[in-house]
């Protein structure tokens, strides 16, 4: 029961922060600006392309590219929000001294950590889902494109956010806020480097590809956010047979997109990761002197 009260308290606290208000206002502004710009671009392109079948297919193709770019922006926004919002989850309360009257209450420290984690998980996942669906609705209305497996893509994104939340939760129980934020940010930014290097090596030095792939796997195990993003891009694409019809390239394997779904083993690892890290944070907090 204590866990639910801590979760509710965390939600209330987060919502009352100015940061939350700023994020909501900016997100609405971004979405509005995106909607207006997209409408302008689509209307301009349709002037020359009437309502023929080819034009419709080309519009759908444009919708695919726009979807990838828009959801990549959602991914970046949600990730930034996760790090900024949650880097002080435990360390902030410890530094402020507010835990001094909560910890002696009749609830376990595990309930405190998991209650806070749950509260932030709800915020981050809700924000990601709302932004994801809002952008897809805007794109659908303008281009007619709606990814068949949109919910799978959303699932991958949410899992990525929970992985990032797991890192900040554990970091917050171990190190000061600023250090935790810096570590999470560097890991998040550093993760795609493996994909970029792998992509470059594929063209320049294919003989080393196996070694690079192994390194990428290790990086994906340390921080699976980038792998999950690649997994999300796969589900944002239309079926491969429609690529040519829509005028899209046949190969979507790039440093930022993937033509294949996430390997089941990595998916299992990501789920375990999202569970284990908050668990480790709770274990660490259990033995921490306040």
């Amino acid at each position: 029961m204590g866990l639910l009260y801590i979760m509710r308290f965390t939600l209330l606290e987060a919502i009352r922060r100015r940061l939350f208000l700023a994020v909501v206002i900016l997100s609405i502004l971004i979405l509005t600006a995106f909607s207006i710009l997209l409408s302008f671009v689509i209307n301009a392109s349709q002037v020359n392309n009437n309502n023929s079948n080819d034009a419709q297919l080309q519009l759908l193709g444009a919708g695919v590219i726009i979807t990838l770019l828009a959801i990549w922006m959602v991914y970046l926004l949600s990730s930034t929000l996760t790090i900024v919002f949650t880097a002080n989850m435990i360390s902030g309360e410890v530094d402020a001294g507010t835990f001094a009257v909560i910890v002696p209450k009749p609830l376990t420290r595990v309930e405190i950590v998991l209650g806070k984690w749950l509260g932030f998980a709800l915020i981050v996942c809700t924000y990601t889902a709302l932004m994801f669906l809002s952008f897809l609705v805007v794109i659908y209305r303008q281009t007619g494109y709606w990814p068949v497996d949109a919910l799978y893509a959303l699932g991958m994104l949410e899992l990525g956010m929970l992985a990032l939340l797991g890192i900040t939760t554990l970091g917050s129980s171990l190190v000061p806020t600023i250090v935790n934020g810096a570590i999470a940010l560097m890991l998040f930014i550093g993760a795609p480097i493996a994909s970029i290097v792998q992509y470059v090596v594929k063209f320049l030095n294919p003989s080393s590809l196996h070694t690079v792939q192994n390194i990428t796997t290790v990086i994906n195990l340390i921080i699976p956010t980038d792998a999950l993003w690649h997994g999300a891009t796969f589900y944002l694409l239309p079926p491969a047979v429609e690529f040519a019809l829509m005028g899209l390239p046949q190969d979507f394997n790039s440093p930022f997109t993937s033509g294949q779904p996430v390997a089941p083993a990595l998916l299992v690892w990501a789920v375990l990761y999202c569970i284990a890290l908050p668990g480790l944070a709770a274990l660490r907090f259990q033995h921490r002197d306040l």
């Binding site: 009260y5 001294g97 002696p104």
Partner: protein
Amino acid sequence: MTQTYKEPAIEVEGLRKVYRSLVAVDDVSFVMSRGEAFGFLGPNGAGKSTVVKILTGLVAPTKGTIRILGKPVSNLEMRQRIGYLPELPTFHKWLRARDFLKFHGHLYGMRGMELEKRCREVLELVGLAGRDNQKLGTFSKGMMQRIGLAQAILNRPDLVLLDELVSGLDPVGQRDMRDLLRQLKSEGMSIFLNSHQLADVEALCDRVAIINEGHILKVGAPQSLFDEAPAFAVRTNPVTKELLHRLGSIALSVCQDQDDPCLLYVEVQKEEQAAEIAEVVHVCGSLLYGLAPHHRSLEQLFLRTIDASRHSDPVGSRLS
């Protein structure tokens, strides 16, 4: 609250806490009875706060056993029956006073109308009636202390642990808090008061433990705590060298008041020697205007005890 007075509220045995290489408390043992007001007295850095943090589960002991209301510190059922106010408390400033109390009430398992009613009661008790809609961010230091006490007694605890209760309060606030604590004590609540404010301890506590450099030096009732020889305040005139010499021969020590040269403080082995003092004054040809037992303040006794412990144990590697 129908507990027997002598049942222990807090039992501490062989408590030791080491932060890396620093020994904060060492071999601390004491028992506090239920219904008792127990003062924990010591200078800054003595180890008081560490002991309180261990008692409330904020800090884990390196060694030793602790039982609160007969249960280990980790016991959740026990925690439902205690209240705690930390020193200079920090709360979530965005909360309104009522919401703050309701949150803590929920953590205690309180619900609905019972909680609403109790919130109003405690706000009134701590002198914050009518402030229930005010945000904590707008509270003064003293008001923070009051709302902190309100959350500590919200659950009608059997035992309340207070760390430097009056540190943020003005004199009126200090008096109000002392009165409130006396009232709570009269209702049967056990009070553990961690303080370096001797006036609090003297006014409220049945027993006091003096701690310095991580060790408990003495435990006992405030007035009987210190093993001091009886002393008398002697007002006489004139104060001659012969008088001082003769008094010195029957007393342990004789001191002349710095501001009033006709006032002497004579420390003797037993109270019955008052007659001997009067006789000496008479024999020396001085007039005796007053002869009364001289009770040293707790502050004087406390400082003497701390000074004595410092001279006998020059350990410097301990902290609070």
